[in-house]
């Protein structure tokens, strides 16, 4: 744990140093919104952002990914595994909520008897340098879900914007090592530390009040069969699934084969529980045929099933689902309604 100070004008220098030995992913502006993309020069970075529209999970878990390729010949079938060890990478400027989502994904992809080597291979050799939220959105509710705009979970280094300088904090050994290689850092003073704590207080005070989510688990279970309760939300859902596609903790995927005459590949691609096809049986039977059941599945999965299997809520409170929904479905309304019943 090291605490340093970096004058803002030194940031390009830091990025330059990182770019020398790492592939660097950072927020960039594209089509009027922010995404995490690979940068080649420090000036491509766009740090003046609230949060990226698309969560950075796609760096480790891309929308479509080849699992393996195969070639057919008279001698039989030859399978080539499509895992390439990733080069050392840094994700710079990731928000604490998204960093936390990686701790959830890490858990999920390695839980149980089977591990997911594709995610794990991409994920390793990656350092996460976070940028604390000094300006959380009104739709952010990380504090309600055991998170914080200055949260450190999942990060190796945290940057906090103190106006004209960054408070830089390494959070583990890897972070310590990296900090030692970076130029222009000076030790943080007691005053800097004080300023940072004060800033955190200010930011927390500015946030939308916490939504009480204690016992949410049991409440959800009690209400599981209450059609009226779920209908008030699912009624306006148009089933577009933007909420799940842009969720940093959603992990479901589909697997398809694609083939040309003699070779082919098996591909996995993001899928979503919000489509009826997701659960449709070959016989025509569908265990979740209605919007109500599908919306309930999304909520239950994150707030009831996740805690049961992985001991953590499967949501980081980034609020993307609220912002992106074309009909303004607001998951916080579900919590509120839960508290009222």
């Amino acid at each position: 744990m090291k605490e340093k100070i970096l004058p803002k004008e030194q940031l390009p220098q830091i990025l330059k140093t990182l770019l020398e030995s790492y592939k660097v992913f950072a927020p960039i502006k594209k089509n009027g919104f922010y995404v995490f993309g690979e940068i080649e020069t420090p000036d491509e970075i766009a740090l003046n952002y609230l949060n990226s529209k698309i969560p950075p999970k796609e760096i480790f878990y891309p929308r479509t990914e080849v699992l393996f390729t195969f070639t057919k010949s008279p001698q039989g079938i030859d399978i080539q595994e499509a895992i390439n060890p990733s080069e050392s990478r840094v994700i710079f400027g990731i928000r604490p909520c998204d960093a936390k989502s990686f701790t959830l994904l890490d858990k999920f992809f390695s839980y149980g008897k089977f591990k997911d080597p594709y995610y794990q291979t991409r994920r390793e050799n990656t350092l996460l340098i976070g940028l604390a939220c000094v300006n959380p959105r009104s739709t952010c509710f990380c504090t309600s879900i055991n998170g914080s705009p200055f949260g450190e979970e999942g990060l190796d280094i945290l940057f906090v914007d103190l106006g004209d300088k960054y408070f830089v904090k390494s959070l583990n050994l890897k972070g310590d090592e990296l900090l030692d290689q970076l130029p222009g850092l000076t030790p943080a003073s007691e005053k800097d530390r004080f300023n940072m704590t004060e800033l955190l207080k200010k930011v927390l005070a500015s946030m939308t009040p916490e939504i009480p989510i204690e016992n949410i688990n049991t409440k959800l279970e009690q209400l599981f069969d209450e059609e009226v309760f779920w209908d008030q939300f699912s009624q306006k859902c148009i089933g577009c699934a933007s909420c799940t596609f842009l969720c940093p903790t959603c992990t479901c995927f589909d697997v398809v084969d694609e083939e040309t005459s003699s070779s082919g590949k098996r591909i996995r691609l993001w899928d979503t529980c919000q489509f009826p096809l997701f659960t449709l049986h070959g016989s025509g039977h569908n265990p979740r045929p209605t919007k109500r059941q599908r919306l309930r599945q999304r909520v239950m999965h994150k707030f009831s099933y996740y805690p049961k299997t992985l001991d953590e809520i499967g949501c980081v409170g980034c609020g993307r689902c609220i912002i992106v929904c074309p009909v303004n479905q607001d998951i916080r309304e579900v919590f509120k309604a839960l508290q009222e019943t």
Binding site: N48, C240, P326, N328
Partner: protein, 323 residues
């Protein structure tokens, strides 16, 4: 607009009280600024939830096709585009005219919150007040006033039927005339004048962001197929990946499937989480159908859709006729 809102509420309330309808599908205040959310009112006393403002951009026709409203008498708040979508559904036999009470709203154009939000980021809007021609925005440490006309949604600027062509009651009784400067037709002409290769580059670049989430399809009031072609597996015609060839395949066929039906409501463009603007395609569809068959979708429920009919005299200049 407040005046219209009041009349709309009264009218809707009247319909509910008279039991002319079982429920009203309208808009209510959303949970974040500049947003409304669909609302379903069944009791006359709840009618005050209904709002009407320039944030009512969602196309409510979408809901009418859902099974839960099949046997219900529904009152629905529609703008010009929504009414046209409704008419297409009627012409295609999806909705029975007598089951729907159409409450038409003359539409002044909806505002483009996505653009406002994007331009303001990292500032965030916390309070928005909209007057006749201005939008007052307030947030943490800032206050800003925008001219409403500068932030009208692109699809509203290029709108040609802002007043419902078919409705049971037109709220306020007065159609609104729009006079926005719109360059969609010029842009289209410009693109059409380019070479196929340039157009290919244009569309592959535009659509390369597509994540195949099908939000465009789900938001579309006219994409009501029980099983979409992208979900069919026997055989599976369209690959599901984000390979550009698959993406183009999807968008070509989707365009084909809404040709002669699309009413340019802009729901697809609005719903796209990747901000892909599909308006050039939808405008082109209008032109193709109009040029070839003199047809405009969504104006008359009694005229059969162009892809469901044909004549001996249809133009066929594209047929190969060797000398």
């Amino acid at each position: 607009m407040e005046k219209l809102e009041k009349i709309m509420q009264d009218t809707a309330k009247h319909f509910l009280q008279e039991q002319k309808v079982d429920l009203i599908i309208g808009y209510k205040q959303g949970t974040i600024p500049l947003r409304t959310t669909p609302c379903f009112v069944t009791k006359p006393e709840d009618i005050s939830q209904l709002v009407w403002n320039v944030c009512c951009d969602h196309d409510l026709t979408n809901f009418l096709l859902q099974p839960e409203y099949k046997d219900k008498k529904v009152g629905i708040i529609v703008k010009g585009c929504d009414a046209r979508a409704l008419v297409v559904c009627m012409a295609e036999g999806q909705i029975e005219r007598k089951m729907v009470t159409i409450i038409g709203m003359p539409c002044p154009g909806m505002i483009d919150r996505k653009r406002i939000e994007s331009e303001l980021e990292p500032k965030e809007i916390l309070v928005a007040e909209i007057t006749e021609d201005q939008i007052h925005l307030k947030g943490k440490d800032f206050e800003q006033t925008l001219q409403k006309d500068d932030y009208i949604q692109a699809s509203c600027k290029s709108c040609r039927y802002n007043n419902p062509p078919v409705c049971d009651v037109l709220i306020g009784g007065q159609p609104i005339e729009l006079s926005f400067n719109d360059d969609l037709d010029e842009k289209l002409a410009e693109l059409e004048a380019k070479s196929p290769d340039e157009r290919w580059t244009y569309f592959t670049t535009l659509l390369s962001d597509c994540i195949r989430c099908y939000a465009c399809r789900n938001a579309c009031p006219l994409c009501y197929c029980k099983e979409c072609f992208v979900d069919q597996t026997q055989p599976q015609w369209v690959g599901k990946t984000t390979n550009i060839s698959d993406i183009m395949f999807y968008h070509m066929i989707r365009a084909f499937h809404v040709a002669g039906r699309c009413v340019e409501c802009g729901a697809c463009t609005r719903a796209c989480p990747m901000n892909i603007d599909l308006r050039l395609i939808t405008r082109k569809l209008q032109n193709i159908v109009k040029d070839r068959y003199g047809f405009e979708a969504g104006l008359d429920p009694n005229v059969p859709p162009p892809m469901g009919t044909h004549t001996m005299e249809d133009p066929q200049e594209f047929i190969t006729e060797p000398e």
